[in-house]
Symmetry: D2
Subunit: 153 residues, 4 copies
């Protein structure tokens, strides 16, 4: 299932390297010698977790089904607009954020607000594209990977 | 949106009264004089919350899209079987459980295990029916309503 | 720090074997061949996690400081009575429950209600003893260990 | 108990107005006409919740008991240093952050990282002062109040 998860992320425009760069940006102030390769490794470790795979597959499915106009109203409209009050994308992301402990929550909130790197590019996507869940999933994976690096160091 | 939420619950076979009965069963040991009408009121109050409506609409959409074979594999198979290791239904339900404080978590877990009333009927649904999300949503609404009653008493 | 965590659990009357027995009771219906030794191993794995150690040390400290009349009012009274509406013990326990994914939440809620084994003995402790946090911590450790067994099988 | 909660916040150097200013800073980009008085009102509404009062009283007790050298080792050392890996302060804060829905999580993480206003002053407190829990509690109250304003507007 990890292979399928990676494939779907790539199809939605997200490479492991994109997420690893966010991890590096997050953790560099604390670990100046941190290598991108270590960040890639941490992202891979996060993506090895079944709970994470389930969250990613579910969120991407909701984004895609909304794009394909298969989600019923009023939910479709709410997801399309990524309404500030729709918190289910954050709820799903929290399942990922916690896999290496609660310290991931802080980074998740920070990334969600700063829209760093690929997260911002997803958030301001092309017309017709729905990334309501994906931007939060990527922020959550990066936050969890950063927590893993903090725990190991 | 509340009207739409209630409509979709009814279409999936869940009446407010079914949920209120679970609330009464849960809280009767502590409040022997508890009336079903008060339980109905507490369930209605839970369903007034936008966060709850979002969770219910999202979960029911996932159940229905899975039934209609519109969810891509391998996710569809995982949801269909309500695999014990798929925790996204519980994650979604947690967003509801917490609206009246963390004391709802205990009742949620208990209901999820006991499959009381309508929860059990949903769980052992007809062939072709997918209620992977709905059973947890109902348990979560009942648990939140029970927490509301406990807080008010 | 794990050694210290185990020591404090023992001093408060909780042995790893007590928790393992709850895990066995929880998982036996699904895995009839489950050995107590595997349950002990799963409990040990949970207790190896720093996040778990922090939660256990913090909860036991709050119980002990309350017993020693060092916690200021009105908090001391609330903790002493283990008021149904005080949910901070559950909040702390949730940090543990999630270390092997959200499927631990269900078992946690179930154990919290059923008061199985040592959990019930802690809950109905001796006069002057405060186990407001400890009973939830033990339920959470058992729930997380059960989730680990489910994930591995 | 609200009176007691406010009193303890003031004794630890936190005024409602300090928290309201953070709320204003957070929400001003979205609501340019937002008045400080509305933010004060939202903070007061958060502090009316029993779950919030419990979290604040528990966190402040842990800070104060650590200052007074009454918390046993190794926990006291961990709390004193506000170790990056100790996540129990964030766990406690999450109980507050969620009272107006999961959208509070994003602001909480952001504040925890930016150390805005009083949060930064608490974090870099005087020698001998322990605010390990308090800075996260204040960030969580501000995040919940901001969520309340977003929901009402
Ligand atoms: Ca989003
Ligand atoms: Ca389910
Ligand atoms: Ca308790
Ligand atoms: Ca802190």
């Amino acid at each position: 299932m990890k292979k399928e998860t990676l494939k779907q992320l790539v199809q939605r425009g997200v490479m492991v390297g994109d997420i690893a760069e966010i991890v590096k940006w997050l953790q560099e102030p604390y670990f100046p010698d941190l290598q991108l390769a270590e960040c890639v490794e941490a992202v891979e470790a996060v993506l090895n977790k079944r709970e994470v795979q389930h969250a990613v597959l579910t969120g991407i499915a909701l984004d895609m089904l909304t794009e394909q106009k298969l989600v019923p109203q009023p939910l479709a409209g709410i997801i399309e607009e990524d309404q500030g009050l729709y918190g289910i994308d954050e709820v799903l992301a929290m399942g990922i954020t916690n896999v290496y402990g609660t310290i991931g929550i802080t980074s998740f909130g920070y990334l969600d607000k700063m829209k760093t790197g690929i997260i911002g590019r997803l958030h301001n996507g092309k017309e017709g594209r729905v990334n309501t869940f994906l931007d939060d999933l990527v922020a959550a994976i990066a936050a969890a990977a950063a927590a893993k690096i903090a725990h190991n160091s």
